[in-house]
């Protein structure tokens, strides 16, 4: 059956090549540690945060000999995908960085280790109480905050002044705000008044959730979808106005507006405290003092109910049930969240806020930055949670595609709301 094979001169070469492929990839050799912790995260993936993060890791390894952190970089949008695939295959990491709906969805799979009994009481009491609540599910603690980063309302004083608006008085209501956007657009057509994220991702819905609440729309009720309401129609109409009048650029991720902000071509943003760091890294000619003079942070303009809303985009840490050395894993988690060196090296460097109640006392200079104060004073008290959970994971495409449809300008807004409701039925 097999034809006669005669060794040719080049067969050995091919065999050597194939043999080379069979060698496992070489890994950097280090002195054998007692514990290796795998930590899935996007901090080491992103160019903005990688160097600082690696610094924190080496500091930890130096002060905790016998523990090695194996960082697994995964992109922010792939985290849940990566964790679920690994967990399903029986190969979960020890610890993971996580945020938003991903956290709640992951917790619902039952793969996480409950931290009651592992997290010391003193540590928990040093955190903002709202952050601790964020990490509780059915009474048990599963998640701790690495940092606090809500989305707040940024306004560009320079552009406001240029358009004849009062830079000391950012808009307090949605209708004032829409008028301000009109004025800014009229003054300079190249300026984008506002950066609204209209992407079909769970984070896209997180951003839009605050505006929906401001309009009084609550599409995900406890017992069923509730999208076909006048409030949702009002919200979709507002999105349509923004897109068709050129007050925002449709189809963009939140991060795609940041270069515009750095060029002073964005007037308003609904973004986290890290926007400051991103602008400074993009616009190397701008000094921190100039940035603080240009940009202010306050609460989101209120809708008809007069309330202001903010959405958390905190980075959180979770431990997996399958982690072998839970004490070592916890030591690293606590280090990241509360160790002063780690906070100075990484947390402030990324422009986010440490989760400690007494952060302002501990780090007066870093916490004294104007935009950070704006967040701590004004924004954090208005934080609400979106309806995160397994239903949210299934529901966001229906809602965000509705928002995209509204932004595209085609089809009646009432039809869009109706369709959204029909599609949401499938999610429940």
């Amino acid at each position: 059956m097999f034809p006669k094979l005669r060794a040719r001169r080049w067969w050995p070469l091919v065999l050597v090549l194939l043999a080379g492929l069979l060698m496992p990839a070489s890994r950097p050799v280090s002195a054998a540690p007692t514990v290796v912790l795998t930590f899935v995260n996007w901090a080491s993936a992103e160019p903005a945060t990688r160097p600082a993060f690696q610094q924190v890791v080496s500091n930890f390894e130096r002060t905790h000999p016998g523990v090695e952190i194996k960082s697994v970089p995964v992109s922010f949008s792939d985290i849940l995908h990566q964790l679920i695939v690994q967990t399903t295959a029986g190969n979960p990491p020890d610890i993971s960085e996580i945020a938003g709906n991903d956290t709640v969805a992951l917790q619902a799979t039952g793969a996480l280790q409950s931290l009651d009994g592992i997290a010391p009481r003193a540590f928990l009491e040093s955190l903002y109480p709202s952050e601790v609540t964020l990490g509780r599910f059915q009474g048990a603690l599963y998640v701790i905050p690495w940092d606090v980063a809500p989305l707040g309302f940024w306004y560009n004083r320079t552009l406001m002044k240029q358009a004849g608006l009062n830079p000391a008085k950012p808009p307090a209501t949605i209708s004032e705000w829409t008028d301000d956007m009109r004025a800014i657009k009229a003054k300079d057509p190249d300026v984008v008044p506002f950066g609204l994220d209209t992407t079909n991702r769970s984070f896209g819905l997180d951003v839009n959730w605050a505006f929906m609440l401001a309009f009084g729309a609550h599409p995900l009720g406890a017992h069923g979808p509730n999208a076909d309401t006048p409030q949702m129609i009002a919200y979709l109409t507002w999105v349509r106005t923004l897109a068709t009048q050129g007050y925002t650029l449709p189809g963009k991720l939140l991060g795609e507006f940041r270069p515009l902000a750095a060029r002073n071509q964005l007037a308003f943003a609904f973004d986290g405290p890290y926007l400051r760091g991103v602008i400074l890294s993009l616009n190397t000619t701008m000094t921190p003092a100039q940035l603080d003079a240009t940009w202010g942070v306050t609460v989101l303009p209120a809708g008809s109910d007069g309330r202001h809303y903010a959405i958390p985009t905190d980075h959180q840490l979770v431990m997996f049930k399958a982690a072998r050395d839970k004490a070592a894993a916890w030591a690293f988690m606590q280090y990241l969240a509360s160790d002063p060196t780690a906070i100075r090296t990484y947390t402030f460097n990324s422009g986010v806020i440490p989760p400690l109640k007494n952060a302002t006392a501990l780090f007066p200079t870093d916490m004294g930055v104007a935009t950070i104060q704006g967040f701590v004073r004004d924004v954090i008290p208005t934080v609400v949670l979106p309806a995160w959970g397994p239903v949210y994971s299934k529901a966001y495409p229906a809602i965000m595609t509705g928002v995209q449809q509204a932004a595209s300008g085609s089809g009646s807004v009432a039809d869009i709301a109706r369709q959204m409701q029909a599609q949401l039925q499938a999610a429940y």
Binding site: P47, V74, S350
Partner: protein
Amino acid sequence: MPRLPMLGRAVGAALLLLALVWTMFPVYWMLITSLKTNLAMFQVIPQLWPTEPTMDNYVQLANGASPVDRLFANSVVTSVATALVTVVLATLAGYSFSRGRYRLKGPVMYGTLATQMFPLVVLLIPLYLVYLRTHLLDTYLGLVLSYCAFSVPFGAWMMKEFIDSVPREIEEAAWVDGCSRLQSLLRVVMFVVLPGIVATGVFAFLSAWNNLLFPLTLTSSMEMKTLPPGLLLAFTGQFKADWAGMMAAATITTAPVVLGFAVVQRFLVEGLTKGAVRG
């Protein structure tokens, strides 16, 4: 040289010029974007030539800010290995499809084609499980195997077509001289279909080069990632997207492949088949 009227030649030249512009303009854009800062990229009036060209993006790459050298090495190793393995397997299989006579030939032929019909995406989770159990995750061998599974069947069918067009008489001459089938393949047929082999190899190389889904799922450590998921990981993120840096990385990693192409395509063109089929 076919006789073409002067007008025909002028039109042909104009069309070629158009084709060159169409082909090279985006490449040019990629190049000059890599010479801009991220801030300059977002100027409302796009700069056809950067007003302040900067080598910053390349400097960053050289400083190892992102592991592009590692990504490039991984991509090259896996793509070249895929090309070689594909060429070997596809030529053997193609020869078998063309000349072989065995009972399972029909099912095997159509079976190999059928395996291409299932979307890779759905296969990922069962495949991840298989790889986990056989310790193929995060390895070159695992990636190359998965790439080959998708370039060999096409390669085999392509080689079958090329080998079909080689007249039997050429091989029969070799058999008369006492060669076995494999020897006649290696000594005679292979050279006649060399352009087909090169085309198969190039196709396999590029499908491995561009593959995003598999390395995304089947590798976890940065040391083993290839360019497509690695570029995404290294240059786009939650905070900011470093598009200019990505263009710089792309320029550097694409240049060798383009040069490789230039060499290979000349070989293809001046191929050894000129005049192979003679009366």
